[in-house]
Symmetry: C3
Subunit: 245 residues, 3 copies
């Protein structure tokens, strides 16, 4: 059983955060909220997302799994303004999600969740933690995209650094620790990542909202942030690229 009312922007945020990694998602709908965890087809990245009942105008649920085509749901969300309140209802008899937007009723067929895995979060040694504005990171990413397809993320005792190198060009975003919102770096950490993946993970975070990076040495990065007025929480894990030199 699932029946809820929610602002369209909450569902839009969920889609923005996940749809660059996966086309189909299994939503675990429970009394205490909606949960989604998935690994992308190339097994390079994981996304984990949860939305509390407090993000909804109205929320009633018992444990069910809902298999959603994210592109299709994204298309439906374009029918609503961000602040429109939608009604969502799971129709068990037909296995459809019934979405009500004003006078419009849109029934969406759901996917079979039987084959969709429940990935485990791996244990990782990520000693460094830095929190900064997403917009700062985004500027470094955009600058790097033009000259390379990978970037180095570096945490030192002095601060955080993003570095990219092309044939004739370099990009260096340097944030001394006093410009960071949080900073815990017991040792120098450096790992390389695909710009494409990393860019898609920072894009869903609006403007100057904070994002926390957990870094190790040649280890994945964990990218953590809140959304939906802190009623939603998400993190990504992104595997490193191995430096070839």
């Amino acid at each position: 059983m699932f029946e809820a009312k929610v602002k369209a922007e909450i569902i839009k945020a969920m889609i923005d955060i996940t749809s660059h990694l996966i086309n189909e998602a299994k939503l675990n709908v429970r009394k205490d909220g909606i949960f989604l965890r998935a690994v992308d087809p190339a097994h390079v990245a994981m996304v984990d997302l949860s939305i509390k009942p407090s993000a909804f105008e109205d929320y009633r649920a018992e444990d069910i799994e809902i298999g959603v085509d994210l592109d299709k749901l994204g298309g439906i969300m374009k029918l609503a303004s961000s602040s429109d309140v939608l009604s969502l209802k799971y129709e068990e008899s037909t296995n459809k999600l019934v979405i009500q937007i004003g006078n419009l009723t849109r029934k969406m067929g759901l996917l079979d969740t039987a084959g969709m895995p429940d990935p485990k979060v791996p244990n990782l040694n990520l000693p460094a933690k830095v929190t900064l504005k997403a917009s700062e990171l985004m500027q470094g990413i955009k600058a790097s995209e033009a000259i390379s397809d990978h970037i180095a993320l570096i945490a030192t005792k002095d601060g955080f650094e993003l570095f990219a190198e092309g044939d004739m060009d370099t990009v260096n975003l340097k944030l001394p620790k006093d410009l960071l919102m949080e900073f815990e770096v017991p040792e120098r950490c450096k790992s390389l990542f695909s710009i494409d993946y990393f860019s898609n993970m920072i894009k869903p975070i609006k403007g100057s909202q904070p994002v926390t990076l957990y870094l190790g040495n040649d280890n994945p990065v964990k990218i953590e942030f809140d959304f939906a007025d802190k009623n939603g929480h998400a993190f990504y894990l992104l595997a490193p690229r191995i430096e070839s030199e």
Copy 2:
């Protein structure tokens, strides 16, 4: 003879209403206004449009026919802002339309109207009449486009309904009669239509402007609306699609 001054937005509206059905139009310019009636090349739809002299800042005309390339005229309108007042003048000696926008004079060669027909409006039995906001209809159309290429329009004693069905999905826009601006439905009427055609006919109607639908059973729909502050009037006829089941 034809000489007039008019806000660019009036001519832009005329082009928006007609150019999705036809590339070339015959304008019947008369003392009492400008008249256009045409059938699309596939013979699926008819458009009928008239603009009263009161829509113009200045209007003087005697009976002539003007053959216009609508794309070309649309391109010329892009040179003007909506509220710019244009001068229009038919130059008989060269068979050109002289369009003055500020200090710019644009002479447009006209088309031979000899081969362009004057279609008759067929007699139709369309007992149901409903008037609603174009924006309501548009939301139903957009939702339907994603899952099907045709929609059903249904009028019952309770109200108006738009319905579309895909492989796994449905769209249902339901407007009870108290949400309609006009409502005269002596019997249940239902017909199927191409979404593409129907969508292009609702698009030119701005925002929450009213549009009136006349419906029958497996019969064309008549779509009627005003524009240019009620100094312009238009209707479409759209042939039904036959339900295959």
Copy 3:
């Protein structure tokens, strides 16, 4: 040696003015400003541009030549808002330009200027001079693009005229001398030009800013304007097209 601080919009303007003619530019950086002169690969047009030290927030330079990939520099400028102040510094040891935008450091490899020529400005007989708003010209250009690939620019004792002719259509922009900001026409002058080239030369001039045209008979046009609050100055020379009749 070159070290400067400047609003991004000044560098963006430099790129807008030059990059439609050339991909690579040699900047002559001197104590009294930055100078660029180049001929396009087809030898149809010349651009000459100078920016005074007063355009900069801070400017220190000794004579050097800097070879710049304009597309690459344009991409870097997209990382900054128009009003952002950038630091520019020539790094001699690596032959790179170091561009600082906030916390971001972008080092751009420079091009070898050895093969880049220093074209001379030819002596031209251009007796007519008219100054008008760029936006007026632009409207005439846009109207003409739809019907021809060349335009005539005409100065007479009565004013300035732009004329284009298609198979069935004409465009005529007529500005009587009292609508012109400057007007010195000792004799009738008329030359034909490529609309593409001419359009790209007027586009970088913002809105209703003045532009001065120097015209002769079947001779190049000189197109002169200021930018960067009159701290920048530029002119184009554009070769005429010979009328074929």
